[in-house]
Structure formats: structure tokens, C-alpha cells
């Protein structure tokens, strides 16, 4: 790792002020992607602004029809939260499927979203539930948040503070894991929100995306066979050593069908 200045602000405002001052600075959440990149010398920030001491960024609140989760809340807390399990079991389940125990004890919701890894799990829940990403500057609707490969709507120095997930009528997440990395080769989050159905796919493309045809079919009939015949196009999907675009396109259908089955259980 290259040397850097380490900062540990105790408030979001302080963190934002530091970030504004240090053009080459980086915000540190759980550290699993950033510290790894720094060790590989792929990232060399001049300053590291550790968000770990900011109490406001932590915690889970269930309020009426929604679950608000602080950006620095660890995956393990979400997976283990009785409140989340009760309000949005699919969200707790998704968190329990991220990486392994060590990863879930380190990784944070905000870190995952800001990093926007194409194979990360959380983006599927955020987009699938139509969540709202709250930053120190504004509220961003899930549909406007993910912009592409490792790209989000966040501006320089903008800090995710929490994410508000509306509780759906029923929902489920099913993931086909990369056997080596345990990231999603394809993960599908299906939510029947009461006002409509949302289907979000992670792992398959450069960024998480919705499948309008499936949403429409499920809106008409929320049943596995409603999506069984709907194929997404392979064009533009990811191809790597583990899965071709064609195979990923196929898995989207299989995982969507299984997610609907799981949501109905």
C-alpha cells in the first residue's frame, strides 16, 4: 500500500468537509474493496476518510411501511436483524448470502452501493424494492442511482447516509453464485410491492437492471410460470471465464422463476 493520511471524522459534515478538501481522498466504509485495491496498488488515495466512527451512519430503523438502514451497517447486522427479518425477510436473506461470515462482518450497505460492483448483491435489493438512497445532499430513487459499471449517481464528496427500503407485500432473492468468488453470476430480486411488481437482476450485466417483461407478466399473474418463458437478451450481458452472456441470460429466467416460487412460500 502507498502511504496516506488517515482521518476519522465523527460526523457526516466533518467527513464531507474533509472529502471536499482532498480531491485525491477516498471514503472508507468496510474496506473490503478499497483496501484490497490499495494493497494491489490499483488505488492510491492521498487521504483516507474513515466513516467508521460516525454513529449516525449505523443502525436499522423500522418505521411503518419501511426499513431504514444506515450506510455503515454491516451485512451481518442486516442478516441477523429480527426487525428486518420480520419486515422484509428477502432483504435479510440477501444480506445472509453475501460472501462469507468474515465478509459480512466487514462489508457495509453504503460501501457496497457506492462501489456498485456489477456482481454485488445489495444493488438487486435496492432496485428490486425501489428503495431510496439518502445522501448528505439529497434523496436518490433507486431507478436513478445505478448508472453503469462501478458507476453511480453519487457526486464527488457525496456520502450515502442511509437507505430506505419500502416493505413489499412479498419478495424474494435467489442467487446463482460464482463458485470461486461467491459473488452473483446472476442474482434476481423479485418484489410484489402491492402497487406493482419489480424484478431486478444483478451479476448479469454491467450494472443491476430491471426486466420490464417479467414485471408486466408477474403484475398480471404472480406465479413462477408467468416468467418461465420470458428470456432476456444476451446482448450486452457479461461474459467471463465462469459464464457466457448466453448462459447468464438463461440463468436470469431460471433465477427469476425460483425467486417467484420463494416469494410465494
Amino acid at each position: 500500500m502507498h502511504a496516506f493520511n488517515y482521518h476519522r471524522p465523527s460526523s457526516v459534515n466533518d467527513a464531507a468537509a474533509l472529502a471536499a478538501k482532498q480531491a485525491e481522498g477516498k471514503l472508507l466504509a468496510g474496506g473490503q474493496s478499497l483496501v484490497q485495491a490499495m494493497k494491489l496498488r490499483l488505488a492510491s488515495p492521498s487521504d483516507l476518510i474513515d466513516l467508521g466512527a460516525i454513529g449516525d451512519l449505523k443502525g436499522i430503523k423500522v418505521d411503518g411501511g419501511s426499513v431504514s438502514i444506515g450506510a455503515m451497517t454491516r451485512h451481518a447486522e442486516v442478516a441477523g436483524s429480527a426487525e428486518v427479518k420480520k419486515a422484509i425477510p428477502a432483504l435479510a436473506y440477501l444480506a445472509s448470502q453475501i460472501g462469507d461470515r468474515q465478509v459480512r462482518n466487514m462489508g457495509t450497505l453504503g460501501g457496497s452501493l457506492a462501489n456498485a460492483d456489477p456482481a454485488a448483491d445489495y444493488p438487486a435489493a435496492v432496485l428490486g424494492l425501489g428503495a431510496t438512497v439518502v445522501t448528505n445532499k439529497r434523496k436518490i430513487a433507486a431507478d436513478d442511482f445505478f448508472k453503469g459499471l462501478y458507476e453511480t449517481a453519487l457526486q464527488p464528496g457525496e456520502i450515502i447516509t442511509q437507505v430506505s427500503f419500502p416493505a413489499p407485500k412479498r419478495a424474494a432473492y435467489v442467487k446463482f453464485k460464482n463458485p470461486a468468488s461467491r459473488f452473483a453470476i446472476v442474482g434476481v430480486f423479485v418484489a410484489d410491492t402491492g402497487k406493482g411488481v419489480r424484478v431486478a437482476v444483478t451479476g448479469a450485466g454491467p450494472s443491476v437492471f430491471r426486466v420490464a417483461d417479467m414485471e408486466k407478466a408477474l403484475g398480471a399473474k404472480f406465479a413462477p410460470d408467468a416468467v418461465a418463458g420470458i428470456k432476456v437478451k444476451a446482448d450486452g450481458l457479461n461474459t467471463d471465464l465462469h459464464a457466457s452472456a448466453e448462459y447468464r441470460a438463461h440463468l436470469v429466467t431460471v433465477m427469476a422463476k425460483r425467486a417467484v416460487e420463494a416469494a410465494l412460500k
Binding site: 496498488r41 463458485p179 470461486a180 471465464l241 459464464a243 448462459y247
Partner: protein
Amino acid sequence: MTAPQTQFDPASARFGASRTQKRIEDDRLLTGKGLYSDDRTFPGQAWLVLVRSPYAHADIASIDVSAAREAPGVLAAWSMQDLRADGVGHIPFPPLFKQADGSPMEAPPRTPLAEGRVYYVGQPVVAIVAETREQAQDAAELVMVDYQELPCVADPRRAVQPDAPQLWPGAPGNVSAEARYGDAAAVDAALARAAHVTELALHNQRLIAMALEPRCSIGVAEGGRVTLYTQNQTPTGARDMLGAAFGAKPESFRVVVGDIGGGFGMKTGLTPEDALVCHGARKLRRPVKWRAERSEEFLGAHMGRDQHYAAKLALDRDGRILALRMDMLANFGAVPVGSTAIIPLALGPKVQTTVYHVPAVDYRIRGVLTNTMATGAYRGAGRPEANFLMERLVDKAAREMKIDPAELRRRNFIRLEQLPYATHLGDWYDSGDFGRVLERLLAAADWKGFAARREASRARGRLRGRGLSVYLEWTGAIPTETVDIQVDADGTVTVFSGTQAMGQGLETTYTQLVTEVLQIPARAIRIVQGDTDRANGVGSVGSRSAFVGGSAVVAAGHKVIVRGRELAAEALEAAAGDIEYRDGRFRIAGTDRALELAELAARQSERFIRVSATETPSAPSWPNGAQACEVEIDPDTGAVELARIASVDDIGRIINRMIVEGQVQGGIAQGAGQALMEQAVYDPESGQLLTGSLMDYCVPRADQFPPMANAFEEGIPCQTNLLGVKGCGELGTIGAAPAVANAVLDALAERGLLHLEMPYTPEKVWRALRGGR
């Protein structure tokens, strides 16, 4: 040709008590007190970091290290030119093999740093030494190398084509070495008269050893010479090669090895990094340490397997094998290591016919240079590949001929009355009852209950398949070890062995042997390995440690008693013939006049008794076994799950059951890993390693295995060594890959598929289920 003599001593059957004894190693390894090379820190230690080639094949037009040399904390920056100026040469490979025209094997020499040209991605080009690792890494970024890229080739099938890029002038057509075995005319004739010929082309894919401990070496100038602190299965060999690389006497180096975090064959011989830290110590007179990053382990540690086969198996109408023809291209990589050639050219062929009687064979094996990291010893080393080919051929033949796969195997086993059995390569199988092992396995695996389990799987929407493998290992490369035992005046009994523990519990196993021979408590016994000043030998490779090393330990123990009897006779003023030994005491028979071992040692002028024993088993041993595997396949995704695994192994006598079970289970995990998920892949165009991290190279995890049922056939001791042991380190791996493969193909058979290449990744299986589309 005469059969080897019997050395097995039935009186040593007590060593085959098969007891489980807790491991002595665990006192330190379970409490964080192990001493691996990275745990050592020396005063004044500097760090070495390497600049590695980003290209698979390129001429080095120039290297500029001037900026790196000026960087903070930098002590030195070397290219091969600098090393040459200091008299450093290359690390030799053993001159054992020839090309087709009889000239010696040729390949680019293994210089510690690339000289003029790079041959594979990850080849070391420049070494930086600095006060800290970070400073050395910073300086490495300042090194300027001007590469002029050359066309490259990563696949040996491409490399032998006439228009392929050429790696080395001395190896025309990229064929570095070639071996032929058998009788081509006899095989031609057998193929002509065969009722059935099964043909198979397959690739035994390249693997990465992935020992959890990354390599780490430290060179330290001590007392006028250099000590290499490292992890190495063959410390004496490493020392001797240091001598060769530096043009110095081997004794001007010492190699010290502590605990090793897994070896699997990869931590053998000498590496460029070892040579470089030693050069650093000589040149800078400071301890110089290098620790591999995980990516360097992927790129720059030798890999395993990577052989392409075309084979034909001729059978008569009843499914009896008439002949085997095998033509193999072994991917050597670019710059061979010590074990590169011997594995495909010599070790694999030894067991190519495995447990079957094959009247005629014809093998052609070519070792091919490609722009990839060298292949070399990795668990099994040639024997998994040979057994995999045979078990796939036999299984395919059974399906084609509509004969039950167990029955086809039964018809072809070497029978008891054929033992000792002379092989086509001039070896003798001394013992084994392959039919008995198979029948025991079929019972243990509930082979007959499969149909019901398949129905249950089907009801859950899953395909189920079952697979068998029967297999044979060969062990005993360089079948000699020398062991010294010293008895000190305080009663400590120290065993010095040149074999090398790397996780297989040798301290415990050897201690058990000594407690039995000398009838003394384990707490009095010390096992010394891993220090070329104190013990030398071949080291631990190819499952030889108990077979050769253990036999030498027992022989040395017996020698302690013989020598002790003479010394006790003098001390007690009696005839040696009247002295009896029991429980650590020499006693004049029928009297109460006796001396403890310690007392006897104390009476010597040196205040110790030391003996040395060299033991050479009369012939290799042939561990063998059978495995059964069942898999379930999700037809929607192609994902394969291991459902059941059972094994029955004949490893001769068992010294410590817990240890051998662990060896077999760990071996099975590596073999199943090869079948289902592991593959090192180079991009055929660029020669870049596509599986350069644990994110892409898939290593088996805890949640991927069902409980394994592992049994042993203990009634067939090896005849060629004192202990009757056969070796157990590699059998699990050898048997698992074909058992899993045959199970996957059984599940896919209803779709008419007769072969599919490993690893059986979900997409590959999904495509196979769709008829290859």
C-alpha cells in the same frame, strides 16, 4: 528380469497397529506457535521485490533501473546482467531425457532473472532490494523495461504445428523431449483384431497447487556462507542447486526449513526467488527476505498437470483389454523446473495400465514448450493423469459395449496368481488384490442401492449419476534414505531425517515408529528435519516418506539396539549375545544387572551414542484403491453437487489411522476439485493467465463436500519394505477425479454424451444437457 526380494518383516506388523495417536505437531500448530518462514524476522533484514514480465513472449530491448536505484530505501536493483557479473548462473534441470533424434532435452535455461527475452507472463525480470517491502514495491514501479513483443503460444496442440511461434532453437517444433514405450507393432495387430476399440481424446487440465502458505524465503549470510530459510520439501536438493546456480560448493549453503504451510509437490527444488535472496545476502551482507503475494503464487509457482491425450483401447468381444495406445502432448511451459519432464515422460507411464492386465502398449509422449509457467510436481504428479485416462477409457468402453462398468473392470484386473507382476516398463507389482478392494467398495458405497437414490433425486427434479474408479499409485522415487539416531546422556533420542514434513504429520509417524522399536515414551523423542547441516536426503515427494523414510527410521532404531548391546556388553562385562533389550534398558539375561539407554550414552566418551542407517526398499510400492462417487445435477443450471463419496484404499500397513484418513480425504478434495471446479487458464492469444486470483481460480470449500466414507484394506502388506507400508499421500487425489468424472458422465449419459472435459462447471454441464448448444 527377476522379481524383487521380499523385505517386509512380519515382526514389524506391530507398526501396522493402525492406532490413532494425537499429533505431536499440533502442540504448536494449534496454538499459533508454528514457525513458518514468514514468521522469521532477522535483525537488519531487507526486503526483495520482483518486477515480473507482463508479456508472454518478448525480447527485452533494454532495462533501466537507474530511477529505482535512486528511490528511498533502495539497496540494490538487479537485472540478469548484474547477476552474471557476479557469477550467478541458471538453476539446472536434471539431464534425464532426450529428444526424438537422441539429442538431450532442451529448453530455455532457468536463470533467476530473465536474460534477453521473457518466455511467460510473471517471469522475474528485475529484483529490487530495499529497507522495507513498501519501499521496494515503490521502487519496482520506477523500473523501465522496453519489451518488444513476440508472437506467443500457450496451447501445446498449437505449439507443435509447423507455423507456431518457436520458443527455443534447440527444441525444434517446440518439442523439448520425447519418450516412446511399448511395442507399436503388437498394438497395431491388437487393434486390427479387436472386437471393439474405444477412442478418447482428453485434456487433463492445468491446476494450481494453492498451498495456503505463500512461498517466503530469506537469505542470511552466516559464518562465511549463506543460509536459506525457506519452505521446501527437498532441502538437500535445494542446497545442491544453489551450489550449481552460484558455481560454488553445495556446502557453502545451508537450507533451513521450519513448518511448511502445505506443499503438494509445488515446494520442491530451488526457485529463482530462493536464488535471489541468497544472492542478496552474499552481495549486501544483510538478511534479505521475499514473500510472494498471492498473485505471484498464481503466476510464478510451478503448476500441475496440463496434458493432452489421444488414446485407443482395444478390447475383445468379452470386454477383455488387448492393447492400449496413447499419444500425449505434455505442456512443459517455457522454462522447465526440476520435475517438469519426469512427470509426464517417466512417472505417468509407470502406472499407465494401472490395475489392469494390458497385453500390449504403445506410448508416445512429447514434452512441449509453450509461453506459460512451467508445470511440475503437484499431488499425484503423472499418476492422476495416467489413471484418469485409463478410468475414462474403461468407463467409456463399458458404456459403448453395454457391459456393467464394475464387471468390465473385474474382467481385466491383474489376478492374484499373476503377482509379482512385471509391467511393460520393467517394474514389478509386488502385492495387491484389486478385485477384493473393488468388492469391498461396492458394498461400502451401497452400489446396489443407487436406483432408489436416483429415483429420489428425479422426484426433486435432479439428475443423478454414479461413478467408479479403480486406481494404482507408484511410490519410491530414489528409494533410499539415511537416518541417524542419537541417544544423549539425558535420555533424549533424536532422529535426523532428510525427509520433510509439510503437514502430513511425519514427526508423529516417525515418533510412533521409534517408540515401538526402542520401547521408550514419545516424550523422549525428537525428530529433526529441514536442516541440511543436520540431515540430508531426497526429501518428501511422491508419497515416499513412510515407505522409504519410515523404513530407514526403523532400521536406525534396530541399529541403536545392536550397537547398544555391544556397548552394554563392554560396560557390563558380558557377552553381547547375553544382553537383552527391553523398554529402554539393556540387561544381562537372567540377572538384574542393567543399564538404561541414557546411562549407556553417559558412559561413552562423547556422552552420546549415534548410529546411521541407510535403508533401500527392494522395489517401489504400489498403493491402490477404489472410489465411488454419486453426483446430483440441477438440469436448469447445470450445477453439479457431490452427493456421496466412498473409498477403499490398500496402502499396506497403517501407522496412524487419523493421519492417513486425513491424507485420503484431503486428496479426494483436490481430485474432486479438479473434476468440478479447478482450472488454470491462459488466454490463447495473449498468453495472459486468466485465473490469477482466488476470485477466478476456484478452490473447494467446506460446504461442497458430503461426508466421505473412507475404509482401508489392511491385509495386504507391501513386500518390498520393512514396514509393509505403501504410501498414502496421493491416492485420494488419483482416485477422485475419475470417480467424479464418471459419475457426472453417468448422469449425462441419458442425453447420449460419452465424454466431456473437466472441470464440470455449471455452464459446461448446462450446454452438454442441451446437446452441446
